[in-house]
């Protein structure tokens, strides 16, 4: 279980948000909403352990999660607003870059985002929506319970969004957790909402 206790973030000299608290149990989902600059990305990066919080605590099963960032990292998959794709490599090689994977695993992961036909295409030939889908296919390669997604549906067509929502439902049915920041409507049944526009100073 993930629990945030009055988290605060400061970027530059500005307080982005404070007193952000929530609990997320296995199978739960949390949707972060708020206008540009409300701190959605900052909160996602904070939850991933990339940014230390200015105040507050993040607990995983009642233990301080940010005490040991490498351990916390094994519990999560982070898909930021940048796709982390190497244009010179093929689509399949991009997925096998971080850790050697079997071809079957890679094709199965690509199939979750309907990219398996492009496995041997250089990634530089992908459109921006396809690049986004390739970044999202990393979710399927990991068995980590917590998915942290920053604007996951940017640039995706309607069919891809529905496929993604189906992947989300499957992950949550297996006890996974999802925290997503988004402007676009995203169908996460039974998800809690967190409006960051009211958490600012």
């Amino acid at each position: 279980m993930l629990e945030a206790r009055s988290l605060a973030a400061i970027r530059g000299e500005r307080l982005v948000f404070r007193d952000v608290s929530f609990r997320l149990a296995a199978g739960g989902a949390l949707l972060l909403v708020g206008p540009n600059g409300a701190g959605k990305s900052s909160l996602i990066r904070l939850l991933a352990g990339l940014t230390p919080p200015a105040a507050g605590a993040l607990l995983w099963d009642d233990q301080d999660a940010l005490d040991d960032p490498p351990l916390h990292a094994t519990r999560l998959v982070f898909v930021g607003h940048m796709d982390a794709i190497k244009p010179g490599l093929t689509v399949a090689d991009n997925l096998g870059l971080a850790r050697r994977r079997s071809r079957a695993d890679i094709v199965a992961a690509l199939a979750t985002v309907d990219l398996e036909r492009f496995a041997d295409l250089p990634a530089r030939l992908l459109s921006s929506g396809q690049r986004r889908r390739l970044a999202l296919s990393r979710l399927a390669l990991s068995s980590a319970p917590l998915w942290l997604l920053d604007e996951p549906t940017t640039g995706l067509d309607a069919a891809s969004v529905r496929r993604l929502e189906a992947n989300f439902a499957r992950h949550r049915a297996g006890g996974g957790m999802i925290i997503a920041a988004t402007h676009l409507p995203l169908d996460l049944p039974g998800s809690a909402g967190l409006d960051l526009s009211r958490a600012g100073s």
Binding site: A48, G80, M82, I85, L89, L97
Partner: protein
């Protein structure tokens, strides 16, 4: 440990696909060395006398060339964020990338330094001693350079800042390396090089890791 080797493998795969960076620093090494021969003339006495120092200085400059992309490429496309949440400590990420830099730049420079030294009319018998100083030398270059690259990551004008930070830090290694290459009994010079290695081997990855954490936050 598996994740660490996976990171080194990743660096090698990327270096092979984008071979231009490594090849460019090798070509720079050869061309810059031949410029000395052209400028100073083919006199064996003069060239052989300056060859060890020239090889050392040019190796240092050639190793700098790919450094500004060492972390910046991953920083710009978001891959550094992914590395930081790969389950490795930040210092291990930095160390893995430093090892990647040595394998793709330092080691090729070491291999090609022998022929370049002979081109500069260095006595064949003196070449092994020069290479022996360059072995810890290139490792030091990768450590100090990697640390400087991490510190300047995301800074405005980082490309200019990087050599200004890395080169002064390399002066001790340059002094003892170039001296050790020509000394008759180079024991103390080697001891100093190994001492520098003992200093930077733990310090550079730790400092670079802290700098990477600051850069992604």
């Amino acid at each position: 440990m598996r994740a660490f080797f996976a990171l080194i493998r990743r660096e090698l795969v990327l270096a092979l696909r984008h071979a231009g960076d490594s090849v460019a620093s090798l070509l720079f090494f050869v061309i810059a060395a031949s410029l000395f021969a052209f400028a100073i003339g083919p006199s064996e006495q003069v060239l052989a006398g300056i060859a060890p120092g020239v090889v050392w200085v040019i190796a240092l400059l050639a190793a700098l060339l790919p450094l500004n992309r060492l972390f910046a490429a991953d920083y710009e496309d978001g891959a550094l964020d992914q590395l930081m949440v790969s389950g490795l400590p930040a210092s291990a990420v930095a160390f893995g990338k430093i090892i990647g830099h040595w394998l793709t730049t330092g080691l090729p420079l070491l291999i090609i330094a022998g022929p370049v030294a002979i081109m500069l009319r260095l006595d064949d018998a003196a070449v092994p001693q020069l290479l022996l100083t360059l072995l810890p030398g290139t490792i030091l270059l990768s450590l100090v350079g990697g640390m400087s690259a991490a510190v300047t990551l995301g800074a405005r004008g980082g490309t200019v800042l990087l050599p200004l930070i890395a080169l002064p830090l390399m002066i001790p290694a340059l002094i003892f390396g170039a001296a050790g290459a020509v000394a008759t009994h180079p024991l103390s010079e080697f001891a100093m090089l190994l001492g520098l290695l003992a200093l930077f081997l733990p310090m550079a990855p730790l400092a670079a890791g802290a700098a990477l954490r600051a850069a992604v936050s």
